[in-house]
Amino acid sequence: MNERFLKRYSFHITANDFMNAGKGSSSIKNLLKSMEIDAIIIRKIAIVSYEAEINIVIHSFGGELHCDLYDDKIVIVSEDVGPGIEDVDLALTEGYSTAPESIRELGFGAGMGLPNIIKYSDDFNIATGNDGTVIKITFLM
């Protein structure tokens, strides 16, 4: 692969902070807009990073959302500290969720987060363990 890494932009995401949930994705969206990237790709990236950000807010103790720019792709990396995902296959199933009722009242936690991420991305990679989860989501340019 001759891909060339250009730059990483990082945003800190706080657990359980629902008023500010989405701020990181909003920053990523505005950043990409300023780079004159195709609007449809920007929307896909915004949706996916927002779902990933909500997951960090709901399920982890906090983490980082990174936007990695390459010359031929953009990779969103969601990196959290937390209990990890017990059963990844189940978590990838539409409708499966471990989120409590309080999260569902916020309009999330219906088991659509990871399926939505896969739906909108070109490549998806997940690594999870007792100390946290790292998700890499790729968008080809």
């Binding site: 949930a21 969206k29 609007a39 915004a46 949706i47 916020l106 309009g107 219906a110 659509m112 939505n116």
Partner: protein, 117 residues
């Protein structure tokens, strides 16, 4: 439908207004579940919801949706309206239920998005 026409049909209050006069909203997407909005809606549609929190505006922002309609008498708080203003999202609120709202909009020519037709 124009914003003014939507407000008239639903007896709705216009809380923020950023749409140009020629913005004609042709389709709507109604859900209290934001993940479903992210999965199925499109940027042209009116977001109709009974969910009342900041995530509604964030969802509209990510989807490039410019208009949100709150139903069942939900009135967004100051912080939510501030977020709407920061993102140039037009916000309306009606006391009507989700079903009545969608029925009235459909009677006035508004359609669902293509994937549910």
């Amino acid at each position: 439908m124009k914003i003014q026409d939507i407000a008239k049909v639903l007896n709705a209050e216009i809380l923020t207004d950023f749409n140009s006069e020629d913005r004609n909203i042709k389709c709507g997407f109604a859900s209290d579940l934001m993940s479903d909005v992210l999965a199925f809606a499109n940027s042209e549609s009116l977001l109709i919801t009974g969910l009342n929190n900041a995530q509604v505006i964030r969802t509209a922002e990510m989807m490039d949706m410019d208009t949100v309609l709150f139903v069942r008498g939900k009135k967004p708080c100051k912080e939510v309206l501030k977020l709407a203003m920061e993102n140039s999202v037009t916000v309306l609120a009606t006391d009507y239920t989700m079903f009545k709202t969608c029925g009235l909009l459909a009677l006035n020519g508004m359609k669902g998005i293509e994937s549910d037709e």
